[in-house]
């Protein structure tokens, strides 16, 4: 396992997590669990935990906020900045997230190395943000004794005076499959000399002959004619986004929310085969979420076929307020699937 991979995480007071620990992650990690157990929030905490500068931390916070906003705006059918997350997290205090995360606790010298931390000291209304490279302090000009996730974003917005934001290649959801994002990522694959590989994989899965950027638009050649990518379904867009993103990353981590969204079950084995292969080649750690039994079984089947023991399955379970993760390494996971056990949340 590469040094830059996340091997364990400890989360306190972040979204639905009050006091949470999980360890034993693999190079590729699939996360399962019931609705609203915190699968995406778990990935978001992992994502934020790797921030190495305050600016990067802010960008990552903003990015996960943007993903959530798009989702929540769709749910609420409103074009304004959402508050659903605030409702869900009502009375939750946001504080600190990282591989080691604390809220209003004394920092332990041994544990501060490489940490991203946010502390809120309610007595004096001070937010302290630390990464392993730098730290900043901000006064919070109100009398709240809790800082919500949205409030933190607002404070950081003011601090950095920056609101425009683009999605990175590292956090992929179905809402990052816009033409603009796909154009960027396909362009990047050309720059990285991965364009032919992307086309090779696409051709193996879909009945198309080529993908390219023409007149600043992603176009696909099918039956001899180029058509705009928007003409095609969600599955092919998701596939392009996932595969090209991993191909253009190196020694990095990628997060794939609802990985199987839009992808037909008959293509799942091929998708996993590509992900396991290129994540190994590119030395990229993968975290992905799913609800689908077919997706989980496909993951197990392909990992077994490729004898890739660097995989793990993370089952998130909630019992009343407590959320717990069961991290299944390869052997245990394969055994669970072969015994036809349910791994998508505790029974």
């Amino acid at each position: 396992m590469s040094e830059h991979f996340i091997k364990n995480i400890e989360i306190k007071n972040f979204k639905c997590f009050e006091d949470f620990k999980a360890e034993g992650f693999g190079r590729v990690n699939l996360i399962g669990g019931k609705n609203n157990v915190g699968k995406t929030a778990f990935m978001e905490a992992c994502y934020i935990s790797k921030s190495n500068t305050i600016q990067n931390l802010y960008e990552r916070l903003l990015e996960i906020d943007s993903h959530r906003n798009i989702i929540n705006n769709l749910i609420l059918n409103k074009g304004r900045r959402q508050n659903l997350q605030d409702l869900i997290n009502a009375n939750k205090s946001i504080s600190i997230f990282n591989q080691k995360v604390y809220y209003n606790e004394e920092m332990d010298d041994e544990m501060t190395c490489g940490l991203t931390m946010i502390q809120f000291e309610k007595e004096i209304g001070l937010i302290k943000i630390y990464t392993h490279k730098e730290s900043i302090e901000m006064m919070v000009d109100d009398e709240q004794d809790k800082i919500t996730y949205s409030r933190l974003i607002e404070i950081l917005d003011i601090y950095f005076s920056e609101t425009s934001h683009k999605f990175t290649q590292n956090f992929i959801s179905q809402y990052s499959n816009s033409n603009e994002e796909l154009e960027n990522i396909i362009g990047q694959s050309k720059l990285d000399n991965k364009y032919d590989t992307l086309n090779k994989y696409l051709l193996e899965v879909f009945d198309i002959s080529n993908i390219d950027i023409i007149k600043n638009k992603p176009m696909i050649k099918s039956n001899g004619d180029y058509k705009e990518l928007s003409f095609f379904g969600q599955g092919i867009k998701a596939f392009i986004n996932i595969v090209s993103s991993i191909l253009t990353l190196k020694n990095d981590i990628i997060y794939l929310d609802e990985i199987d969204n839009g992808i037909h079950y008959t293509n799942l084995d091929k998708l996993w085969e590509i992900i396991l292969t290129i994540s190994k080649e590119q030395n990229v750690q993968v975290f992905a979420t799913t609800h689908s039994k077919e997706c989980i079984e496909s993951y197990a089947r392909v990992a077994k076929k490729l004898e890739d023991e660097e995989i793990a399955f993370i089952e998130l379970c909630r019992r009343e307020k407590e959320i717990k993760a069961f991290v299944y390494p390869y052997d245990w996971f394969i055994d669970e699937i072969e015994q036809e056990h349910e791994v998508r949340g505790c029974l």
């Binding site: 379970c317 019992r319 407590e322 717990k324 069961f326 299944y328 052997d331 245990w332 055994d335 015994q339 036809e340 056990h341 349910e342 505790c346 029974l347």
Partner: protein, 190 residues
């Protein structure tokens, strides 16, 4: 609340699932219509492994004990002393089970059902066609087969070969003790 039934092998699991489905059909246990009984089984890979507290399956599942799993039932054969004096025979089997429970130290409700001799013996004794069974049994005795293979009832194997999906007479009184254990296991909603 969830539970686990620890069994020796796949045949044991299949048999217990048949019995559970019979209990469900007769409304002797209240479970959801779409219940998948596979979820509640751990196939341990033999009696020796089932009674080994260091078995990796026990190590793994320990993290779920108390949080997800609140009840456990261990089902295995007592087998024949001639094969293993340590944990075979009813008395030694019970002793080894107690030893396992003590070493596992799970703070949950544990129970056990031990088949006299083995599952095959038990099933053959309860099949409908007792006459045939008796004839077969006489033949086996006549040939003195058990001296050669004491731990495997040839008649049971023969019966399984002939009827891979046998219909068991679950109304037979001899099923009552194991039914009782299973009903107790599933008495709370899961």
């Amino acid at each position: 609340m969830s539970l686990r039934i620890f069994v020796e092998g796949d045949d044991d699991k299949k048999f217990i699932i048949k019995l559970l489905n019979d209990l469900k059909q007769n409304k002797e246990i209240k479970v959801q219509d779409n219940i998948n009984f596979n979820n509640y089984f751990e196939v341990m890979g033999g009696k020796k492994k089932l009674l080994d507290n260091n078995h990796e399956k026990y190590q793994r599942i320990a993290s779920k004990i108390g949080f997800e799993i609140k009840k456990a039932l261990f089902i295995f054969d007592c087998d024949f002393e001639i094969d293993d004096k340590n944990c075979n025979g009813m008395q030694e089997s019970q002793k080894c089970y107690s030893d396992l429970i003590e070493k596992l130290n799970w703070n949950i409700e544990n129970d056990v059902y031990i088949f006299n001799k083995n599952l095959d013996y038990f099933l053959v004794e309860t099949i409908n066609t007792k006459e045939c069974y008796e004839y077969f049994d006489k033949l086996v005795n006549c040939l003195d087969v058990e001296k050669v293979k004491p731990n495997k009832k040839p008649i049971a194997n023969l019966y399984r070969d002939l009827y891979p999906y046998p219909q068991f007479e679950f109304k037979d009184d001899r099923f009552n003790p194991i039914k009782y254990k299973l009903k107790n296991l599933f008495k709370e909603p899961i």
